[in-house]
Symmetry: D2
Subunit: 440 residues, 4 copies
């Protein structure tokens, strides 16, 4: 992030309409939005070499007094893509509620099963959305609309949206989804269409850049902690008990690291950003052996993307993500073999709770967060922003260019104070930083 | 159960001591215990051909006014064996509390890591137990004492207990543990020792005969339901979503059946007691295909012991239980292959939550149940009963000869009203009864 | 219960229809139902002086092969009355599911806001019920139909049911509701109408006679335990901390007693069935003072109906129940005053969680139980039973004459082994049995 | 906050010791801490009129390579004050763990029952703390050390700390506690003592200035949501159901506002910062009446400090906080009376869950947060900082002068985007800003 980023988001045109006068009189607006600094310290800002008024900053989010779209003529569409993530229904509900009550938009439709629902050739019928339909959906996990992986032809999508008269599209999904939304934005712009495309970044792994914490992450950690706690109890209940939990995190170890800190029972946190030796005096196996002999048990939390050099895999999934080798069963088997070989009494318990984590309702924290992201996504669209995502940065809600959010990756900084806390909590060795780190 | 069972439990000898006068004045006692009928209907009782006063019945449990052991001279030991089960710490705590406060027993010791702790050659030191040590343990899962599988030589165990002056042993475990306790009882009786051996039957699968519902079962079902609910959400969130959960239940499908009823979201419950065809028009695969096409998704709950003829395994585990084939991954792979072959869009999500279920704290129901079992185990021991387990039968607490509880197996009755309710809840086909059923 | 009870339930007439052949081939039936013994011990049965085949017994519940009503012509109505209770939606859902899928009944309606919904003069429109409407309601607390207290004129109700062509009515509620259902049954019988009235007894207090454990009770205890646990933590966190929780239980202390046993943290359980002195050496106040001085804290769980002689109240609520004085705030104030007077440093924390307990979703245990009660209620109705409730007795599901369930009251037996366990768990003084007890 | 704040924290002196070489080799350190900007937008920073390098900023927190105290000679003390707050035990545990394992400090003591434990005249014996004692305490609510309200003479406290050789004191508590800690710092400085006093700000209401979100707040909201959800179910279950929940928040309505957003079921959120009329066309009563008639029910969430002009109170509690009138029972009674007078059928359910919220274990979010605050408090102390608190500001951990944190108050900004979201979620009227607001 050395060069100065361009952090402005596209605008469809000047705002021509007043915010509507709905029930309860005029709604408050934020007409003097702030530019929220990218960097939060004096040192980082000095390093840009720029004067204060030109420091890199995001546009602050919020409702505007003047709108680009006429609410009465607005037709909105919503799509959810990729794997399940807690809070999807909260976002859908928030979008519908704010469109309906705050702006009086009466045509809102949801597309079924991800971008598939925007390709008429596949034939999923859109679902009409209104406050009654979405009233209680946030109390269930999953997504009312269904989801799928993979893109559809952006020209087909734009044609479809035109055919339905939709001028505002909300796309909730991960980096692939956001790249798809960027493509749709580009096609619409190229054709000169009045289409606002707003993304709500979804990543249970918390790995989207410029998004401090993604929705669903808090819920995922909350559930992951239960797994760590339970495997710890299993480890305590057996001679030489070793508990091993594999948690989500393909490229970023946030869930594993947070669950480690939150449970306070793990002795080793393994993440993609930090390499670890398996063999030798300083290797994981020997560390585990020594700990089991000394303390009677050990608990290991591994992100699914950790230690991939031990379990090389080939190919990609339907979203185009490289397949991962299974570090969980690999470590389980290697630890068992090592302790057997060293004649240490042991019982290894392995848990992979991933599908128990993604489909649950959101925590209170995530519910609040989802509602606010949804509300601000609607405000941005009504004010004519496009090709952007909403996010929270340094505690404030901002507009982020969609290309920024869809490129690169947020990772645990192996030199930062957060990872340091994990080391302090586990007392694990200071292993080297992984070559997988730092690409963020 | 055609022949008339002998349901009396051994007694060490006549009661010679008064119940102690501890803080709070005399404790109530139940000196006229009832004989609790084995059979609860007129028809079953008539079928025995016996007169009313000779109907098969268990001795009712409860504190007696006169004791066999002098509380002041009593030394008690506690051991927990086998896999973790919610409520183990509640039972330990209950035993200690009632021994301490109700009878004034001041020497209570816990043996580490199952029967291993009763074999001095292995060298685990017993742990001194008192109300302070056990005060909060019931709020954590697992067992304070640790556990292990497999028996130890009963002669060694009896020697060890003698060497420590212990005259009351509480053994908490499954059928293997209870057989071990029966062996210890036999050795002690043969040597003419004053040793009371009381079992508290532990089986998360709920498969111990004459024990209506085992402790930990309610907790296991409660947690299992979360898995069914979550996999249902996963199934709803994808085109052709199929959710599959494997639950505990080697020989008895109670957890799977209860979780099915409690979640109300499963379409197929597969249990060891009921066979199911895989192929053909009436086979599971074709049923799933049709349901996915008609309703968009399907949810399957399978006990680990279901469909074993499809996944034959060989060998036994350390407790001597035959190994099971993995019906979960088998079904996952077969369903995927079938739907792919039939060109049905699908996404199969598979969850195996077992180690997330065993190590959790007990539900309120199980906590109450464990305390009561523990209290009644203490009362039975103090009154000189031995070679027995405590249990609840037809809503009343009773003494059960340990051989009865350790032999045979309780199973879901495929012709009974409970399984009928499962069929009504799922609407699944009425497949044939398994050859594995009926051996109870 | 000294005299021999008449435990048979009314039957509308001989069964004339076959169980329907719906999807999946013939459903299993139980055509030789058992008579389930009222008394479970040999001694109690001997005391009746009756021969084995004439012992008092309930008719076993279950689906019959032959039906009284033609499913295709059956119209069913459902009403929920009285205060909220966990599981109401499970029962509604179960009734609808079994009526719809098992019997093919296609006309099912729900009445809004209790018996009010059966009085057309009030004007609540019935709600059409089907599997889609009730699909997820069991995951929420409360009742889909709404509820209210108090009866309506049974002649008006019967007229209304006739006007809608309804021949099966399910009434879910407490003793008042069941008395109302008995009145409706009587009017229908008097007029010679083919109306089956089946009650599903609802009492969060667990105080309905011949119903071992009522639905919602397990959930209520589960939530109550959280209150006891939290107030215990408050008590531990302050000098002379006294935690006091008031729990539901107007006449029966089951919730208080179970929550005491389940939490294992209460030192005094106060229930309507057992009187307690307030003043004097053996009074509650002095006991609390001594405990606070000796152990630093104390926890008290009081049923709302406990100690009513200290807080006399007058009048009745809308259901006709006598109003209770507020024992919770009374004890809080008296304990504070006493400790202040005795110059004991203290902090008293008082919690009354009742409205936090009634509106929550059912536990797994209660969900299973509700489904089974609902299914058996449908079976009973289809087989022409009327004027009865379904219940579980000694672990088996039975038909109970509605007058039996609606009269008298189940209470904690102060001389039984359950209350004894509570005394063992708390170590509280053996205070005298209340004059309020024993009326069951 | 118009004037430029002085945000530097006191330092005892130059760092003279190296960070210790403990197990696992050198621990990472952050020797070039950043100055974290007070203001996060360009506009706010421009308004200060200062150049970039002189913008108001906090010292970034983190472990330093060089220490002021010799770890081997350090003796640390910990005290918790005021009402219970989720996470207290997490903070205690984190302090002990990091002192012990990271710095090798072996003398750590906890003072019982707040500042009382630092006054030897009261006679509470300090409790020795080490990793074993605190190992599992975070899984329980409350505080291991106990707590109390009110200060002690700072001279007495400093004498006591000297007598015990303690040179690092960690004080966990609210504004009163922090003022006490500031007084202790001042006395120590005046006497020239080497005593580091570090505060960890505790406020379940989230009302401490310069502390973005206080620990325990997330847990409190999580639990508060359950109350809102349950009272909503109660409101739905009755004709004219009105649910009313009173939540914590004396001067700041954060808990009420967050719980409103998170539950998505409240129709009116009442907070101290925003006044509301009771009577008249635009008054709360009339709004509730209209909503009940139109939608059948209404849910109100009120912070305890809301609407105090309707319930004036006099006097202060032991911490010196002004007593509040009971807005909860006041609103309950007024709404009931109004609806009765207007002849609207109604049922009002009121819940005050406060003591059910404070004593629970921390959420995963709060557990992580508490550990990090604790670790950074230890780092600050070892590096010789004093008279400060640790906090998170704009997503980064910082050192805050204790006087800043102990003065003024953080409140909901009635003109900010957060409160705007609440209005959007509830659709409630835009009532005027309270005179109680804006004093932050």
């Amino acid at each position: 992030m050395a060069e100065v980023p361009n952090l402005e988001v596209p605008v469809l045109g000047p705002c021509r309409f007043d915010s509507p006068m709905l029930e309860g009189g005029p709604w408050p607006t934020m007409d003097e939005p702030r530019r929220v600094l990218l960097h939060s310290s004096i040192e980082e800002n000095l390093a840009t070499g720029r004067p204060l008024e030109e420091l890199p900053a995001f546009e602050g989010a919020g409702p505007r007094g003047r709108l680009y779209f006429d609410p009465a003529a607005t037709r909105a569409g919503i799509v959810t893509c990729g794997g399940l993530c807690p809070g999807l229904n909260d976002v859908i509900r928030g979008l519908v509620m704010v469109l309906w009550y705050r702006y009086g938009v009466r045509h809102i439709e949801g597309y079924r099963f991800g971008y598939e629902g925007l390709n008429p050739a596949i034939g999923h019928e859109p679902m009409a959305l209104n406050p009654e339909v979405v009233g209680f959906i946030h109390e269930q996990g999953g997504t009312l609309l269904g989801s799928s992986r993979g893109p559809q032809d952006p020209d087909v999508v734009v044609d479809f949206l035109r055919s339905r008269g939709v001028n505002v599209l909300f796309a909730i999904g991960g980096d692939g989804t956001l790249r798809g939304a960027a493509d749709i934005t580009a096609v619409a712009r190229h054709r000169g269409l009045e289409l606002a495309v707003i993304g709500v970044p979804k990543t249970i792994d918390n790995d989207i850049p410029y998004v401090e914490q993604s929705f669903g992450f808090d819920t995922a950690v909350t559930r992951a902690v239960e797994s760590v706690r339970t495997v710890h109890i299993e480890a305590l209940g057996a001679r030489g008990g070793v508990g091993l939990v594999k948690l989500m995190g393909r490229h970023s170890g946030f869930i594993a690291a947070y669950a480690t800190l939150a449970s306070n029972h793990a002795n080793y946190a393994l993440i993609p950003e930090v390499d670890f030796p398996l063999e030798g005096e300083n290797g994981l196996l020997e560390h585990v052996r020594r700990r089991v002999l000394k303390r009677g048990h050990a608990v290991i939390v591994a992100a699914e993307g950790a230690g991939q050099r031990y379990v090389p895999a080939e190919g990609t999934d339907r979203s185009g993500n490289p397949l991962l080798g299974d570090i969980g069963t690999f470590l389980r088997d290697r630890i068992q073999a090592y302790l057997r070989e060293k004649e240490v009494a042991h019982t290894v318990r392995y848990i992979d709770p991933s599908y128990l984590i993604r489909g649950v309702p959101a925590t209170a924290f995530d519910s609040v967060y989802c509602f606010r992201l949804a509300a601000l996504a609607v405000h941005a669209a009504m004010a004519g922003r496009t090709g952007m995502v909403v996010g929270r940065w340094r505690g404030r809600y901002v507009h982020i260019p969609i290309e920024r959010a869809a490129s690169g990756r947020q990772q645990v900084d192996p030199h930062g104070d957060f990872w340091l806390s994990v080391l302090e909590a586990t007392g694990q060795p200071r292993w080297a930083v992984s070559s997988a780190a730092g690409s963020g």
